[in-house]
Symmetry: C2
Subunit: 220 residues, 2 copies
């Protein structure tokens, strides 16, 4: 059992991961900048797992609170919030905690949505530079938030996991495996998160073109 805090867990990507990890028996804490919002989403998510027959109580609180209790902190926030969030949480994240980045920096170019990677290489590398006490692992870039949220349906696909710390990477690969039908793949050092972050806008635009909004990938 892992104690997982979802920073910005009330947003787009947090709720789906929260549900899946709750069903896998982990202790999931929903974080938000506003405590009452975290509480409300925690209640809603508890109803969602109840709908598949599982009684579960999500922890909740402001981001600073939930990360201080967690072994694994997942940054389910937009790229625009990364610097301020790292600043706000720097002293609250436990030394040696695993910080998971599914963050994708994107911009709307004239030809369409494309990655807008920061100078540090990727959002994950930026987070690692801002949180030296954390073990940053990049993962979950190519898994549809909508599919994760729909707990009645399986979510299929591969999740490439990158990071410098092998133990932290194994732990996150285990969290991928805890979600039925997802397969973790070791993507090597954290720098390969650049590729994963670049892939997401292609998946989104191709998904729209193919009318497959939840497009994912598999390595064969």
């Amino acid at each position: 059992m892992v104690r997982i805090a979802l920073v910005g867990g009330t947003g787009h990507q947090g709720p789906g991961l929260a549900l899946r990890w709750a069903l896998a028996g982990h202790e999931v804490l929903i974080g938000s900048r506003r405590g009452e919002k975290a509480e409300r989403v925690a209640r809603e998510l508890a109803r969602d797992v109840m709908a598949v027959g599982v009684e579960y109580g999500f922890g909740h609180g402001i981001n600073q609170e939930v990360v201080s209790k967690a072994d694994v902190v997942v940054f389910t926030i937009p790229f625009g919030g990364v610097r301020a969030t790292c600043e706000a949480l720097r002293d609250r994240i436990r030394p040696g905690a695993v910080v998971v980045s599914p963050v994708v920096p994107m911009r709307e170019a004239d030809f369409g949505l494309i990655a807008d990677l920061p100078e540090e290489g990727s959002a994950a590398e930026l987070i690692a530079s801002l949180l030296p006490q954390a073990r940053v692992v990049a993962a979950f870039h190519t898994v549809s938030a909508g599919l994760l949220r729909d707990v009645g349906r399986p979510v299929e696909g591969d999740v490439v996991v990158c990071g410098e710390d092998e133990e932290a990477k194994r732990l996150v690969m285990g969290l991928v495996e805890d979600i039925p039908n997802l397969r973790p793949l070791d993507g090597g050092p954290l720098a390969y998160s650049r590729v994963l972050e670049a892939l997401t806008p292609l998946l989104i635009t191709m998904g729209k073109r193919l009318k497959r909004p939840n497009l994912g990938i598999k390595f064969i």
Copy 2:
């Protein structure tokens, strides 16, 4: 039937595509900087298709010759040769010809192999800027050269095809479909070739780690 010239077709990626398109009934011309090398490889490839029961004569010649006869020109060359090749072939490629770029610019960083995209955005976009008379389409970045070459075995996977010219893109998607078990997917404008070119070094390094040297991808 399409007349296809493979520039640098004697190298790593050319022979496999040549074999597959020969078996699909296209007219394939092997190009090289040295005419005798093109001739030798054309003979070797003819033996390879004969081994699967098909009699076929590959055209061959120096790059300048073969591209001047072709409707589709495939740049099966390393990134380092792109500028000089465009310079040498600029006046020989037919106006309106389709130029296919499977080119992947890579460098060996301290953490491993990674894409080294040019200022223009991608190798394909660089080629488009150097050959304004051509209709450049990016494709075949995620298909193993080794699997393509092994004509007795099917080569599975998805091929994302990017380009500005819809007709040219459809033509190349047809050439993907001509290779059994490959599926073409419309990847949108040429700028998305940046993502495809970035993906290849990840496939190579992950393939080594997984002991799956011919790793490809599928979108699900």
